[in-house]
C-alpha cells in the first residue's frame, strides 16, 4: 500500500505500522482509476479531467470539488461547511480504521465518513 516493490516482510509491516509521518507523503504521479465512462458527467470541467469520488483519494493530493450525489439535506450541510463547487481541498488522513476521512478545506480540518465522501465528486486539476 505504500509503494513497496519487493515482497512484504513482517518487519516491514511492523515498521510501517509504527512509522509516524509529520508531513504528507509525496503523491505518486500515477492516477488511480478514473471514473467509469458510464458514470454521469455533470459538468463541462469533467470533460478535461475525470470526475472521481472523494472517498479513496490519496493523502496530500490537490483536489477540487465539482459536484455531489448526496441527498439534499446532507449536500446542503456540506456546502455550508464550505465544500462549495470549485473549492480546493486535500485529504489530510484517513482515521486508523480507514474511516472517517480528514479533509483540509478553506484552511481548516473537517472529518466526514466515507459514506458521505463517496457522494462528493472531485477532480484533480
Amino acid at each position: 500500500m505504500n509503494g513497496y516493490t519487493g515482497t512484504l516482510k513482517w518487519w516491514d509491516m511492523v515498521v510501517d505500522l509504527l512509522a509516524v509521518e509529520t508531513r504528507p507523503r509525496p503523491v505518486a504521479p500515477v492516477r488511480p482509476l478514473a471514473a467509469a465512462p458510464a458514470e454521469p458527467r455533470l459538468l463541462p470541467s469533467a470533460q478535461k479531467s475525470g470526475i472521481e469520488k472523494l472517498a479513496g483519494q490519496p493523502v496530500g493530493r490537490k483536489l477540487k470539488i465539482v459536484g455531489f450525489t448526496l441527498p439534499p439535506d446532507i449536500y446542503q450541510r456540506l456546502l455550508e461547511m464550505g465544500l462549495t463547487k470549485g473549492t480546493p481541498c486535500t485529504v489530510v488522513r484517513y482515521a486508523p480504521m480507514g474511516d472517517p476521512i480528514e479533509l483540509k478545506v478553506r484552511g481548516y480540518s473537517l472529518s466526514l465518513r466515507l459514506a458521505e465522501a463517496a457522494g462528493v465528486q472531485v477532480s484533480c486539476p
Binding site: I74, K85, P100, Y108, S109, L110, L112
Partner: protein, 703 residues
C-alpha cells in the same frame, strides 16, 4: 434600515438593551462571553457544547446595562439541529421569554476566516446592526497570516474589533462599538442572484403579514425557508403559505437556480473575495504544531496507544482517586446521622430527616467526586481539542454498531453515572443518533452498580477464592453491559430507526493549550447543573423509598428492623412482585432490595443489611456476606446459590433501576414515550438474561 422601534437611543440610556453573541463552534465565543460578562460559563473545543441558553450583563460605553445572550455555537442558521433552531429563534425574536436582539456581536475566528465569515454573511441578512469580534488574532499571526482589519470592516460594513479575551484585550473597544451600533446601520449583504432575491422579497412580503415574525426579519426568514431541505427548518412557515413557497421554488428551478445550493454559493463567493482581500499568508505553510501532533495522535498505531492511555487514566481517576473523597462523604454522612439520632427527639420526623434527608443528600453528594473528575477530564479533552480526535478515531467502531463517534464520550460518562452521560449527548446533532445513544447509555455499568457487584461477588465466592476470580467476574459484568449496549444500539438501528441516515461532520480544531481556570470553572458549572437536575430527583426518590420502607409501622413496637421492613409497603411490594421474580430464583427479600434500588442501585446493599439484620452492613461487608450465604429457603436449601448470584448480577447489569435516569431521559427527549420504552426494553432484557443464566446453568448441571 431605520425601522427599529421608536424608543430613542440617547434619551433611554438606562433602558436595558439586548445583544446576542453569535459565532461558530470553537471560535472562542464562550471565552469572549465570559470576559464580557464576568459570568462563569462553558468554554469548549468540541463543537456544540454550549446548548443551554446563557445570559449575562455588561455595561456599554455610556454605562448603560446591556443584556448579553450567548447563542449556541452554530455554523449556519439553516435549521437541522436543536442548536441551530435555538439560534434562529433567538435571532428572529421568536422565543417568548427572550427579547429580540438590537445588535449582533458575531465572533469570527481569524485563523478560520472563510467559514466564520459565512455565518456573518448569513447574519447580515437579518438587517440588524452588527459588530464583528475577531478572535485568535495572535494565533493567526503566528501561523503567518497578515490581517487587514480596516479593510475587513469596510468590506463587511460594520466595525471589526480584534480581541484577545483571555488577556482582556480589545474588550473596551468592543463595548464602545456595541454602544455605537445601537440603531446603527445594518452591515453589507452578500449579493444574492436576482431571481433568488426577488423570490425572497416576495415570500418575505407574505411572511411579514403573518403574526409572530418581526417584519424586518421577513427577508432573512424567507431566504432560509426557500433553501430549507428538511421538515424542522420549515417550522416557521404558516401552512397557508406553503403553496407560495412551492411556486417560488418552481419558478427558481425554471430560472436555472438551484434553491438548495445557490444562496450558500453566493454567500461563500462573497466571503471568499473578502477573505482573499484582507488576509495574506506571509510565509510558506510549514507543518503546524497541530499537524505534527496529529501525525502521532491519530496514527494508526500510536493513536490507539494514546487513546487507550487517556481513557485508562480517566478511569483510574474516576474509580480509584475518587474513592478517597467518597469515603469522607460517606463517613460524614454516617457521623451526621449518628449525631442527629442522638440529639433529635425520637419519632417520625427524626427518621425522615435521617432516613430520607441525610441519606438522600449523602446519596447525591457521594457521586460528586466522580462527577467532578469526569467533568474535569471531559473539559480538558474539549479545551485541548483531543475530544474531536477521539471521535475521529473511534467513529468506525461506533458506526458498526449504529452509534456515532460522538456517542463515545456520553457512553464513557455513563460508566460513572448515566445521568451526566445522557446530559452530554447534546453534542450529537442528529436527533436519531442522539436518541439511540440515550437509549443504550444506562446499560453501561455505572458506579452505583459497583457496590452491588461487590456484595454479590463476595457471596458468590465467599472465602478461599482467589481475587483474580472475583476481578474476572467483575470485568465480565462490565463487558456484559458494554456488549449489551452495542448490541441493542445495533438492533435499534436495524429496526426502530431503519434507514435513518447517520451523519458525522466533525470539525477538527487546532490543538490549544487548556486553561486550568477555565476548565475548573466549567467543571463546577456542569456539576451545579448535575446537582440541580439529578440531585433534586435523587433526593425526592430517596425520601419516597424511605417512606415506603418505613410505613406502615409494625403493630408490635418492639419489632426488629427486619420485621419492620417486612411489614412496610416496600415489604408488601416485595411480596407482590415475588411471583414475577421467582422464575429468576429470587425471593421476596431480594424483591425488596430490587425495589429499594430504584432510589439508587447501591441502596440494595443497605436494604439487604436491614433485611438480614446485619448491623452496619455497608461497612461490615463480611458480616453481610456471611448472613447472605447462610440464608436458607423454606426447604432448607441456600437462597444465594452461585447461579442465583450470577443471575442477580446479570439482572443488575441490564435492568433500568434508576428513576433519576428515567426523569433525566424524559427531560432530554421531551416525551414520556422514550423513557417508558427504555424501562420496558431494559426490564425485559434483564429478566430474560437473568432467566437464561439460571435455567441454562441448571440445565448444564450447576446449582
Amino acid at each position: 434600515m431605520s425601522l427599529s422601534p421608536p424608543n430613542a437611543p440617547v434619551a433611554q440610556a438606562s433602558a436595558v438593551r439586548t445583544v446576542v453573541v453569535a459565532g461558530n463552534p470553537n471560535s472562542g465565543k464562550s471565552t469572549l462571553f465570559n470576559a464580557l460578562t464576568g459570568l462563569r460559563q462553558k468554554v469548549g473545543n468540541y463543537p456544540g457544547v454550549t446548548v443551554e441558553k446563557k445570559t449575562g450583563q455588561c455595561r456599554g460605553a455610556h454605562g448603560e446595562v446591556i443584556n448579553l445572550i450567548d447563542l449556541p455555537g452554530v455554523y449556519s442558521l439553516q435549521t437541522r439541529s436543536l442548536d441551530e433552531a435555538v439560534a434562529r429563534d433567538v435571532l428572529l425574536g421568536r422565543l417568548p421569554d427572550t427579547s429580540p436582539p438590537e445588535v449582533i456581536v458575531c465572533v469570527v475566528d481569524a485563523t478560520n476566516l472563510e467559514r466564520n465569515l459565512y455565518l456573518v454573511a448569513q447574519l447580515a441578512e437579518l438587517g440588524l446592526p452588527m459588530v464583528v469580534a475577531l478572535t485568535m488574532v495572535d494565533m493567526a499571526e503566528q501561523s503567518g497570516l497578515v490581517l487587514q482589519v480596516p479593510e475587513l470592516a469596510a468590506a463587511l460594513g460594520c466595525p471589526v474589533i480584534p480581541v484577545i479575551a483571555a488577556q482582556r484585550r480589545g474588550l473596551v473597544e468592543l463595548r464602545q462599538a456595541i454602544t455605537q451600533q445601537f440603531d446603527g446601520p445594518p452591515p453589507h449583504r452578500a449579493p444574492i442572484p436576482a431571481p433568488l432575491d426577488e423570490a425572497a422579497k416576495h415570500l418575505g412580503g407574505l411572511l411579514a403579514r403573518e403574526p409572530g415574525l418581526h417584519f424586518r426579519f421577513a427577508y432573512a426568514e424567507a431566504l432560509l425557508l426557500i433553501s430549507a431541505t428538511t421538515g424542522p427548518a420549515l417550522s416557521g412557515l404558516p401552512p397557508k403559505l406553503r403553496p407560495a413557497l412551492e411556486t417560488a421554488r418552481r419558478k427558481l428551478e425554471a430560472a436555472g437556480i438551484e434553491w438548495v445550493a445557490d444562496v450558500i454559493n453566493a454567500r461563500y463567493a462573497w466571503v471568499q473575495t473578502i477573505a482573499g482581500r484582507v488576509a495574506h499568508p506571509r510565509s510558506g505553510n510549514a507543518a503546524s504544531v497541530s499537524e505534527r501532533l496529529d501525525a502521532w495522535l491519530t496514527h494508526k498505531f500510536w493513536g490507539w496507544v494514546f487513546f487507550i492511555g487517556v481513557m485508562a487514566v480517566m478511569f483510574f481517576m474516576i474509580f480509584k482517586v475518587a474513592e478517597v473523597p467518597m469515603g469522607w462523604i460517606a463517613d460524614g454522612q454516617s457521623a451526621l446521622a449518628d449525631w442527629l439520632g442522638k440529639t433529635m427527639p425520637a419519632g417520625g420526623f427524626r427518621d425522615l430527616v435521617i432516613g430520607g434527608g441525610v441519606a438522600g443528600v449523602g446519596g447525591v453528594l457521594v457521586f460528586l467526586p466522580q462527577i467532578l473528575i469526569l467533568f474535569f477530564f471531559i473539559g480538558l479533552l474539549e479545551d485541548t481539542g483531543y475530544l474531536a480526535r477521539a471521535a475521529f478515531i473511534i467513529d468506525r467502531l461506533m458506526q458498526r454498531v449504529g452509534l456515532h463517534g460522538k456517542s463515545f464520550v456520553p457512553l464513557l460518562n455513563s460508566f460513572a453515572c448515566a445521568i451526566p452521560g445522557i446530559m452530554s449527548t447534546r453534542t450529537i446533532e442528529n436527533p436519531k443518533d442522539r436518541l439511540v445513544t440515550i437509549l443504550v447509555a444506562p446499560l453501561m455499568s455505572c458506579s452505583a452498580r459497583l457496590p452491588v457487584y461487590a456484595v454479590m461477588i463476595a457471596v458468590l465466592f465467599p472465602v478461599g477464592f482467589s481475587s483474580w476470580k472475583k476481578a474476572g467476574v467483575m470485568l465480565a459484568m462490565y463487558l456484559l453491559g458494554l456488549f449489551a449496549a452495542f448490541g441493542m444500539a445495533w438492533l435499534f438501528r436495524k429496526t426502530l430507526f431503519k434507514g435513518e441516515h447517520s451523519l458525522l461532520l466533525l470539525e477538527m480544531p487546532p490543538y490549544r493549550r487548556p486553561s486550568l481556570r477555565v476548565t475548573l470553572a466549567r467543571m463546577w458549572e456542569r456539576a451545579v447543573i448535575f446537582l440541580k437536575r439529578a440531585g433534586t430527583v435523587i433526593l425526592a426518590i430517596t425520601v419516597i423509598i424511605w417512606a415506603i420502607s418505613s410505613y406502615p409501622k409494625p403493630a408490635n413496637p418492639n419489632a426488629t428492623p427486619a420485621e419492620a421492613l417486612a411489614a412496610s409497603y416496600a415489604g408488601k411490594l416485595g411480596h407482590a412482585i415475588e411471583p414475577y421474580i421467582a422464575p429468576l430464583g429470587y425471593d421476596w427479600k431480594i424483591g425488596v432490595g430490587i425495589i429499594s434500588s430504584f432510589a439508587a442501585r447501591e441502596v440494595f446493599v443497605g436494604t439487604m443489611s436491614v433485611i438480614y439484620s446485619v448491623q452496619d452492613g455497608e461497612k461490615n461487608a463480611p458480616a453481610l456476606r456471611d448472613a447472605m450465604v447462610a440464608e436458607k429457603t423454606a426447604r432448607g436449601t441456600p437462597v444465594f446459590t452461585p447461579l442465583v448470584c450470577l443471575s442477580l448480577l446479570v439482572f443488575y447489569v441490564l435492568a433500568m433501576q434508576c428513576l433519576s435516569t428515567v426523569v433525566v431521559v424524559r427531560r432530554e427527549t421531551n416525551t414520556w414515550c422514550w423513557p417508558l420504552f427504555q424501562v420496558a426494553y431494559m426490564t425485559a432484557l434483564a429478566w430474560g438474561a437473568a432467566f437464561l443464566v439460571l435455567h441454562v446453568g441448571r440445565w448444564l448441571g450447576y446449582a
